[in-house]
Amino acid sequence: MTVTAEPTTTSTPEGTPSVPVTKSSDILEARQNDPTSTAPFQLVEENGNPTRAGDDLGIDLELAQQLHTDMVLARRLDHEALALQRQGELHLWVMSWGQEAAQVGSIRAFRDTDRVFPSYREHAVAMCRKIAPADILRQWRGAAHSGWDPKESNVHINSLVLGTQTLHATGYAAGVRLEGSDEVVVTYFGDGAASQGDVNEAFNWAAAGSLPIVFFCQNNQWAISTPTTTQMRTPLHVRAAGFGVAGYHVDGNDALAVHAVTQHATARVRSGEGPALIEAETYRLAGHSSSDDPKRYRTDEELSAWQAKDPITRLERLLRNAGVGERHFSDLEGRADTFAAEVREQCKSIHGDDLATVFEHTYAEPHPVMRSESSQYLARHDRTAG
């Protein structure tokens, strides 16, 4: 049983000038709302060999090295941050371990001028946008509610109330569209968040307005202890297609496949054909957060099956098979060590502001309650130190 997923109220011309119809785009276009697909799109097998599609499209080794580098550094951040949490230097850490390919593969397919609306687990995305470790860790150290200036990185601050950011991204995309800009907006969210009304309002709103937005779902199989089978009956890319959002399904542990699909979808969105959703099938190899005990809800077998699909190992195998020399790996190890030291140092250097600043930041304009409470507060405490 199948449904037409081609939007019926707006025509979506094939082969518009901005999306050149090449062989690779044919292969990828065929993946949009593909009813015959049960398996997500792959370019590289778990053993590091190109898939049939990988052979057809060709493997971009330079890109592979870049993505591999991004992933190794991102994983290192996770390791260091979790260790810092265990040492009491962070209040909480949410690991992106195992999801690096989904994150770096996607973000590297956007332009730096494309605005990102993350959820809260997208450290690898943030790193690709050159956000400093201190800025990533600030929030988890309890020092601030957000880490960086969106105007610099073009990455909006994290949203912790699940799904709310998808509507912000949709509105931002509406603004982009009003201006006739060719920017694209991307928002990240999880399989669990997809059950929220807001996320579905965003799908619908973006589709109805034919807005330039990519919804990127990291389906990491779990929302804390709740499996996707509890959340939904059909895969999310199928649901999106039902709204008239072009749906793509990709192996989220295959960084090159994620990159290819995202690049394709984004070009389509940029050319004005309306929103797309990419569902990246991946796995959160660690717990939900440093407070979580995943042993309470998932089996060792499941974990090891997914460990075998580790996105970093897979790309490493590919690179080695392709003859990329040891140099890449040893250099990277060195870089990761330096980075790790930087992470530790930057973490400890984060000192939150005093509560006094919150009185200044809550309103843009003068506010009598702020004024009077702030002086009460200052009278009570020394302004300095936290």
Binding site: A144, H145, S146, D149, P150, K151, H156, I157, S159, V161, T164, T166, L167, H168, A169, T170, G171, Y172, A173, A174, G175, V176, L178, G197, D198, E201, A202, N204, W205, A208, D353, T357, V358, E360, H361, T362, Y363, A364, E365, H367, P368, V369
Partner: protein
Amino acid sequence: MGTKYALGAAINAGLRAAMTRDEKVIVMGEDIATLGGVFRVTDGLADDFGTDRVIDTPLAESGIVGTAIGLALRGYRPVCEIQFDGFVYPAFDQIVSQLAKMRARSQGRLSLPIVIRIPVGGGIGAVEHHSESNEAYFAHTAGLRVVSCSNPDDAFHMIQQAIQSDDPVVFYEPKRRYWDKAEVSDEPSRSLHEAAVLREGTDCTLVAHGPTVTTALDAAAAAHEDGFSVGVVDLRTISPLDAPTLRKVAAQSHRVVVVHEASTFLGIGAEIAATVTEECFYELEAPVLRVGAYNLPYPPAHMEDRFLPNVDRIIEAVDASLNY
């Protein structure tokens, strides 16, 4: 101007002025473009400013506020209409957790200059959810500003001041006063967050806002007939409250009665009572009394006259205060 406007038309004129002044001002909501809104407050705006700036949205309040936030992050100044007071709750999360907190969350980096217009209150014989007074929810929420206009002149100026504010403002419009006409001045007589002393009184002061201001004025006039000097303050601003003005009238008249259409339990009257008492304990000859709706869900229209505060109940409270 000097010409007479109905309150709804004054808001229309205010929106028009704001949109003319700043092209980043956009208006969005359900049925606001083609129809001009169910109360016609946005009538003609789509014709004059185009449907890029006057936007009929899908029917989803969380979507309206959530996308307005995104538009504001992009540099726009969205004015959202919520069709009726009782339909703002699906947007509650976006208002309370996102709109109100984004500036503090971002250490002051991100401003969200969004106005949420809400036709408020009862008295029009409407079905359920069309007559509520929910200002207390938003007034309790740090990060928002909440204002309430009661007459065409204020309506015209306050909507423009709200739009000019870099903070999010919940803007209440007294729906049963939409058709009340009065003169509108060229320049605002006060800033957005100042209360107006509409009538001085030495025996007691009534504090009201939005739709109940007229009722309070009527009650003060009736009290005058009986020989009492009863003042009336139009709050105008609910959050922040204009505490200095409240303090002044409390000190002058020694008795204060707050009037509003919301339920009294944790209504804005509770905060006014607490604030005024804290600051004018020795000046008060009686506790601050509250005249609000009963603590019930808004009842069927058939019963609303007995539910809402009216002149009789205000006079009853003034008497209680005077005889305390």
